[in-house]
């Protein structure tokens, strides 16, 4: 039984099929990479899984329960947390308050929420910034704040939407370390990423989207040698 099952999911915007008939499953404890050229429908797929969009066709099952059509907050309560490609910190709140706000989902009182928040911030290396107003945080840390906030909801499945984009090499290594630690805690991860080095080294399996369709699925090694993928994605990247 898969933790998350995406079954023949399509999402249309007017006449445009952003995602068409995509199916795959994610097993407990694995890191699933989702790659594809710009506009391939990766974020749209995240938005369907997370509940911002209801799929036009198909369904999403989480822990064998149908979640497509539920609101995002319900899906989050069931155990799916996400980060945003364009970071959305609660700007005029301190970093600590940001994380407390999401920790309240599973906490019975403020003390408990604060404990969770501090633990998660320690885990993501944000402890020194707890009093900083998140508006003033540099991009690298804002991306990590997104991860910290998502973790504070105690998810079973974590959706990371380009959490590595725009990071410098040092921050990149730090974030890779954090993702590995999250996996060790037994949290399943689905990750959208353009950084080939990151995705190839982190993922257990990879799904490749192109023009909204799944064109390949397999281990990083299989994906790296798949001619379709090379043509659609890697080939393009190498030429650039």
């Amino acid at each position: 039984m898969s933790l998350l099952e995406v079954k023949r999911v399509s999402k249309h915007f007017g006449g445009l099929a952003a995602v068409s008939s995509v199916s795959f499953g994610i097993e407990r404890g694995e890191i699933m990479g989702l790659i594809g050229p710009n506009g391939a429908g990766k974020t749209t797929l995240f938005n369907v899984v997370n509940g911002f969009y209801a799929p036009t066709k198909g369904e999403v099952l989480f822990k064998d329960q149908r979640v497509s059509g539920l609101k995002p907050h319900r899906i989050c309560r069931l155990g799916v947390a996400r980060t945003f490609q364009v970071v959305k910190p609660l700007q005029r709140m301190s970093v600590l308050d940001n994380v407390i706000a999401s920790a309240f989902l599973r906490a019975r009182n403020k003390g408990e929420a604060e404990d969770t928040a501090r633990e998660v911030m320690q885990f993501t290396g944000l402890s020194d910034d707890s009093r900083v107003i998140s508006k003033g945080l540099p991009l690298g840390k804002r991306k990590r704040l997104e991860i910290a906030r998502a973790l504070a909801t105690r998810p079973d499945l974590l959706l990371l939407d380009e959490s590595f984009a725009g990071l410098n090499p040092a921050e990149l290594d730090e974030s890779i370390g954090i993702i590995r630690k999250i996996k060790e805690k037994g949290i399943t991860i689905m990750i959208i990423e353009h950084h080939m080095r990151v995705i190839m080294s982190l993922s257990d399996r990879i799904v490749v989207l192109n023009y909204g369709e799944k064109i390949a699925e397999g281990t990083p090694r299989e994906i790296g040698s798949n001619p379709l993928v090379i043509e659609a994605y890697l080939g393009e990247a190498q030429r650039a």
Binding site: H73, L90, R92, M93, A101
Partner: protein, 313 residues
């Protein structure tokens, strides 16, 4: 020391009537406190939760008419309006919320603005129920003296102040601010944004309704044009908080003092007095440009400006 500021202010206010102030000064004090109640309630919904309402007159008027009609139709004291208005205003807020809270930002603001106007027009035209434009007159005033009115509105204000502070320090407060800062992020963090916006709206509406109930009992006369007024209630509620300081505990109090005193002063200026709304408009523009966080929110900035002005270079 700072912890006790609230109690000290409250204590001093409670002593004021003992000074034997004249009836006009007492009236101004009562208005200031009433407006800080309205400001606090508007601040809860619009300042903390970010849902900017242009229609708080709907709740003020509903509270006022609840009290007025209890007296007029049932022949009981208008003060019963306090318990009764909780139910009546909450139901109205629920209806308004159902319609307006699915809209965001300026669309929500416009929808609430129209709600305020709709409530006024309904109150004007349901002549059998509300008495229409004739309004409602409370013929037996409870007290001639203003002292007890002062203590009653002071009690309402103190309760509202502590309630708002309690709410903002709790999970609700975190959720309200999260919704204000980014509704999509809040939703994906497991916050039921529709539910918590509705809670903010109902809390805010009920507190404003209390101010309305008090107004009826205090003034002894209400009509739809006054208690459902867009310019005199809804907009002034916004101005009180904008001038004092959005999303601050003391902002509505400071704003109420300034707005009530300003209104009294401007009205007494010959010729210019009738244009007080125009002057309020200009004041609002100045505040938004120079003190976008209001007097309380931008207090450090004001202190800095005054110091630079005071020290010769």
């Amino acid at each position: 020391m700072k912890k006790y500021v609230t109690y000290i202010v409250l204590g001093l206010l409670a002593l004021l009537p003992l000074l034997g102030l004249n009836s006009y000064v007492m009236h101004i004090l009562i208005l200031v406190i009433m407006w800080s109640v309205i400001g606090m309630s508007w601040n809860l919904l619009s300042g903390y939760c970010g849902q900017v309402s242009f229609g708080h007159a709907a709740f003020f008027g509903t509270g006022a008419y609840t009290a007025g009609m209890l007296y007029n139709k049932l022949g009981i004291s208008g003060w019963w309006g306090f318990p009764a208005s909780v139910f009546v205003v909450a139901v109205c807020a629920l209806g308004i919320g159902y319609i307006c809270l699915r809209l965001r930002g300026p669309y929500f603001a416009l929808a609430t603005l129209s709600m305020g106007v709709i409530f006024r027009i309904v109150a004007e035209n349901l002549v059998n129920v509300t008495g229409g434009d004739l309004g409602i007159m409370i013929r037996e005033r409870t007290w001639i003296d203003k002292t007890w009115y002062f203590y009653i509105i002071l009690a309402v204000a103190a309760s509202s102040f502590f309630l708002v502070r309690k709410v903002i320090g709790s999970k609700l407060g975190y959720y309200f601010v999260a919704i204000r800062e980014d509704q999509d992020a809040a939703e994906s963090l497991g916050i039921d944004t529709t539910l918590y916006k509705t809670i903010a709206l109902i809390l805010s509406a009920v507190i404003t309704g209390f101010a309305g109930v008090f107004y009826t009992n205090y003034m002894g006369y209400i009509d739809p044009k006054v208690v459902f007024a867009l310019h005199d209630i809804s907009i002034i509620a916004i101005m009180v908080v904008m001038v004092g300081g959005v999303a601050t505990f003391w902002g509505p109090v400071v704003g109420a003092i300034i707005m009530v005193l300003l209104a009294e002063m401007i009205r007494s200026i010959p010729k210019l007095g009738t244009a007080h709304h125009t002057l309020f408009g200009i004041l609002l523009i100045v505040i938004i440009i120079y003190l976008p966080n209001g007097i309380v929110g931008d207090f450090p900035k004001i202190k800095r400006l005054l110091r630079i002005g005071g020290v010769p270079r």
